[in-house]
């Protein structure tokens, strides 16, 4: 009996189940789609069982199976450590889907997330309307060319491939040392600044607190 195909199928089924169970998927996929990975893992395990019980008549090539066999332990052993700031720097900040209407009455300023604020500022970009509003947001540090780093999040509809960065400019406390990709909780108030002749909203940070990377770092 050729043991390689059922073994490889089973191993990859286990890899998918491990990714689903360990939270690794949170770095790759929106939570709405995690069940697809679970179902795929279970299907691969079932196929492995079938392939072990009923050996296929036609022999498949050994090379692809060997490549997959070697790749699976690498996926398991090497933890993903994506640089969100590098990813964000290479993606254009596109249209931000989602409702901004309910943010107005139903969420107080201090309860708005970074993405909520960006949605609101894009739908009503009049900085004077938000001057002095309290802000409590979290995100990662994203360096920007010729300007202070912004606090950013990645919004994802499906998976990492469609990740879109959204950032908000911050006036950081004096002497604050910032590292790219570092996750921070910032509290302060919304202010107004003029950059290149254009008026914009800016977060005037009063306190900056390093925080661990959230379990689910993407926002819908």
């Amino acid at each position: 009996m050729n043991w390689l195909p059922p073994f490889v199928l089973g191993l990859w089924g286990a890899v998918l189940l491990q990714a689903w169970g360990s939270g690794r998927l949170n770095l790759l996929l929106q939570a709405d789609f995690h069940w697809l990975v679970l179902v795929s893992g279970l299907l691969l395990l079932a196929l492995a069982g079938l392939a072990a019980r009923f050996a296929p008549k036609r022999r498949s090539g050994r090379t692809p199976a060997l490549v997959m066999l070697l790749a699976a332990p690498l996926v398991l052993l090497i933890p993903p450590r994506p640089s969100f700031s590098t990813l964000a720097a290479n993606r254009s900040s596109g249209a931000l889907e989602g409702e901004s209407e309910t943010l107005t009455f139903l969420s107080p300023p201090e309860q708005r997330s970074l993405t909520d604020w960006v949605r609101l500022l894009r739908s009503q970009p009049d900085p004077e309307l938000y001057r002095g509003d309290p802000v409590r947001i979290s995100g990662f540090v994203m360096p920007t060319p010729q300007a202070a780093p912004v606090l950013a999040r990645l919004t994802v509809r499906c998976c990492l491939a469609d990740a879109t960065p959204v950032g908000i400019p911050v006036i950081w406390p004096e002497g604050e040392s910032l590292k790219a990709d570092e996750w921070l909780a910032v509290s302060g108030e919304m202010g107004v600044e003029r950059v290149g002749g254009v008026l914009r909203s800016v977060v005037i940070a009063n306190t900056v607190q390093p925080i661990p990377k959230p379990k689910r770092p993407f926002e819908p």
């Binding site: 209407e101 309910t102 009455f105 139903l106 107080p108 609101l120 009503q124 009049d126 004077e128 254009v198």
Partner: protein, 450 residues
Amino acid sequence: MKRLWIPLTLALALAAVQQQWLQRRPPRLLAIEPAAAGSGLAAVELQFSRPMDGASLQANLQLPADQPHELLGEGNRWRLQLSGTTPISKPLTLKIAGVDQRGNALEPSQWQWEPRPALLASRPAGENEQLLSWQEATGWQKLTNLSGSVHSLLPLGNGSGAALVTATDPLEKQVQRLRLSPDLTLIDQRPLEREPVVFASLSTNNAGDLLVQRSKLQQSYAQVELWNAKGKRRQLPMTAGGPIRLVPQGGLAVVPEEDGIALQTLPPLPAKRDFLPGLRDLSSFCPQAGRAVLVRHWPDYRRSIELLEPGRAPRQLWIGTEALLSSACAGAADRIWILLLSGLADPLLELVELNRDGEVLKRMALEGYEPEPGSQMHYDPSRRALLLLLKQRSAQGASQALPEAHLFTVDTGVLQAIPGPIGHAGWLPSRQITQLRRGAPRRAANTSST
């Protein structure tokens, strides 16, 4: 294999040429549309085909030298907001030019923009009424004749027309929708219901959606329908203890209930509801999203004015025994005006200005005037003026049969009548943006659709 090289190379070359062509293609102005004024006097939204360089847009933007303005936004969408404290007194010429973020130049375009809303009003004419528009340059202009009397007139929030409740018989009312062109000529007029109704209440938002609450003779409760700006109807499963109001920014409605007011999302947004208990009514919305002025009714017949802010308990700004007729709000509740009536034998009408902390900034008696019952006060930031429907009283105490529209300039305190009797009136947001080409105006209010 050899044969594949040729098509592959051709495809690669085509892709490279297309990429280079797209990179060098100049940006285009896709749309120029009126937008909510926010904290300014008036605003237009500019939508480009490419992300634009803000500094270049700002540097190349041309407006009359004495007109302060701000350019707001980023990427493809920008907002030109007129600022300052001087009321706008004439249409503006606007030149838009600049480069996109790759340095490609936008073809300069010149526009004539009338930021001031027109006054839309109904005027009784015998047993019927007329629908009129008013602007400084044209005076009163008749738009159409309406059969029967007008019970309610609501200019739509996107300036595309108006909704009306008319009646030839008190128990047979008709809800109509009129479409107007940007230069204020009637496009069409059609009833929204086949059968007459006994009651109808209307509300609109900035997008031009229309909410109709109506009941027929055989119905024990009012039905609620939402007509979107494109004319598509949707039935809303809502019951209310009074007139429902759409929130100007869209997506939400304020629903009066027996023991308070509820804020509800509208479809297709997911259902959310916030409830504020107490004997309260919504009085007016502020231009800043999420702020509104409420009236609270106390058991000892006093009334108070409260400011509602997101996620916070309403803040009392004023309390008194006077009858509170209406209110208006500017900016982020920076200025709030309330119209009060006191005294029975010799009624006194007063206009009070408050700030967001409840301090009384001005209190002015409107002697010799009485209010039109049920009429609202509307603030126009572009004229920095309040619209009031008032009847003038003679020295002998007799008042006019029909009210006149009055403009109260909030900075100078001057009250000026727009001569001519009217029944109902409201501001119709302006859509008058015309592209100027080779010195002659060309009807292109919007490069997309307005």
